[in-house]
């Protein structure tokens, strides 16, 4: 796939702008929505409905004095925020933000690079992002940032496994790691006529694991233990100010957008959607519109979570990841493999069906007889309920991080 340089440049530029703009919308939307949830007004001075507030904040962040405490370890202190932003931007490279467009005699997809290892690239960049948080915490030479950094690295690595297992189901089901193949595999009709062929439906458990995992990966409430204002004074970025603090903010909010875009790509068909027979120039933009709508849906979910849920306790967070999400992801990856195998063989024979039924009965009886199943269910129930039980001071009336910085 060789394309002219200007096409590559254009797609890269568009993708960059797209994610930056969506991030700006997220920050504004979050402040408006959370304000509404808390019976406040939120930013409403700059621009219509305060929509330009993010821009102004960004400018302010840019011109503020950048204080570097004396005890920090250079140059890591300076490099850490850069790593986060760069890794975030790089991971957008494999996300298609639209369908095929024809411009200047060239037909191309709005995707920077359709790598053969597509989704793994996204995961790899996510794992590089860990360094940003971790090194920021260490280079600050201060207890709270270090704690925040250590916490978040453990959290991110744990949930990366869960996310990776969820993504493995997608690989198996789609039969490819390439993002364009995964999107194409979701384009047809689903299991039932009338339903879209989105992977979220046949791979519902994996989808659920991925969604929970992405909240933790992005370090957003209720899983924002890396910064935990109540206990860690802001965690890893306590010692940062000015532009470098801004970069952390940008990386964190952009992670929300990227994770939302990724879940849409992997499980909700990406930019696919009906074009309603519209004329060509508009039809070419429709995929981008669909993609944006789906992504905004998840961004809204992130905002709602933040407004509604208090922070979890750290051990419960880890228990949720290791004892619930990873097993579910693992089992579902195996189940998906079995499903694909059966589909390839053209359905199950009667003997196989009987065998499976007998196996299920045996497992059920064993579970009932030992009582272990019940206990496990109780454990899972506890894990789920504790994930939402308030354990930290109510997070809902905390001010915006952006406002704290001001």
């Amino acid at each position: 796939m060789s394309r002219p340089l200007w096409v590559a440049g254009l797609t890269a530029g568009l993708t960059f702008l797209y994610f930056l703009l969506t991030t700006a919308i997220l920050i504004w939307g979050e402040r408006r929505v959370v304000a509404r949830m808390q019976s406040r007004l939120g930013p409403n001075r700059v621009g219509p409905l305060g929509a330009l507030q993010t821009l102004v904040d960004g400018l302010k962040m840019f011109f503020k004095e950048d204080v570097t405490p004396a005890m920090v370890k250079q140059p890591i202190f300076t490099v850490a925020p850069l790593v986060g932003v760069v890794a975030g931007l790089l991971s957008t490279a494999v996300i298609p933000i639209g369908g095929e467009v024809t411009l200047g005699g060239e037909t191309f997809t709005l995707q920077v690079a359709d790598l053969g290892v597509g989704v793994l690239w996204f995961l790899a960049m996510g794992s590089i992002h860990v360094y940003s948080v971790f090194l920021a915490g260490w280079a600050s030479s201060s207890p709270y940032p270090l704690l925040g950094g250590v916490r978040s690295s453990a959290q991110m690595i744990s949930y990366e496994i869960a996310q990776g297992l969820a993504v493995a189901s997608v690989f198996i089901y789609a039969g490819s790691l390439r993002v364009s193949d995964i999107v194409a595999a979701q384009s047809g009709e689903g299991l039932l006529p009338g339903l879209p062929g989105w992977f979220a439906i046949p791979l519902l458990p994996a989808f659920a694991v991925f969604v929970v995992g992405m909240v933790a990966e992005a370090g957003r409430p209720p899983f924002d233990l890396a910064e935990a204002e109540g206990e860690l004074v802001g965690g890893f970025h306590t010692e940062y100010s000015g532009l470098r603090f801004g970069m952390f903010m940008l990386a964190e909010f952009m992670a929300v957008v990227i994770q939302s875009a990724m879940v849409v790509t992997l499980f909700l068909g990406g930019p696919s959607g009906p074009t309603f027979g519209l004329p060509a120039p508009i039809a070419a933009v429709m995929p981008t519109v669909w993609f944006t709508l789906k992504t905004l849906l998840f961004i809204f979910l992130f905002i709602l979570l933040r407004g509604a849920l208090p922070r979890t306790r750290y051990d419960r967070l880890m228990a949720l990841g290791w004892k619930l999400l990873i097993p579910v992801g693992l089992v579902w990856a195996l189940a998906t493999a079995a499903l694909v195998l059966v589909r390839e063989d053209g359905g199950l024979s009667t003997t196989a069906r009987l065998g499976l039924a007998a196996g299920a009965v045996v497992v059920a009886v064993l579970g009932l007889a030992t009582g272990r199943g019940g206990r496990d269910a109780a454990t899972i129930g506890r894990a789920v309920s504790t994930a939402v039980r308030p354990t930290a001071p109510a997070a809902t009336d905390e001010p915006d991080p952006a406002e704290v910085a001001r």
Binding site: G116, A124, Y131, W138, L146, S153, A154, I157, S176
Partner: protein, 201 residues
Amino acid sequence: MGETIAFLVFAGIALGAAVAVVAMRNLVHAALMLVIHLLAVAGLYLGLESQFLAVIQVLVYAGAIVVLFLFVIMLLGVDRDDLLVAQGRRAVAGAVAVGLVLAGALTFAFVGPYTGEASVCGSDVAPTGTEQSCAGIAPVLDADDDAGVAFLGRRLFTRYTLAFELSAVLLTVATIGAVVLARRRDLSPEDEDLPTGEVTA
């Protein structure tokens, strides 16, 4: 040409970072140099058209293993410089000498046979004298280009299934072993009542 430049750049970074891993006196800095080294090696894999291996290298080594290294270093608080004292001049000189000898031997072993035209994979030039022809990569080159994923997957689940399954056992063993060695209490309280006399007839 571009490939050669990419190779030289990545190889240079990898070598420099590898030396820095050993030379740096701060453990955290050494671990970070290790990350850079691993990333550069991932770049070398990319040069060999093995995207999958490159990404896995980043994901597993740089993204998980070294993070855990750093985790341990920081939790144990051994990131102070004074803990790493060189073992005297003689040890350093010995290490440098061994390293130089090894590097020289490898250079000698590689430069002659593996720098000619014949050692390029897929070339038609017949090897002469001590020159070696490319071996081993042929099946990979023949395989359909799927970032190496399909080829690797097929190999892993046909010829090497047994080794693959066995490594699952290996990982279980390593996990259980780590738990056994790390468990602070040696036995649970009820085991403390174990009679020291004859237990069974």
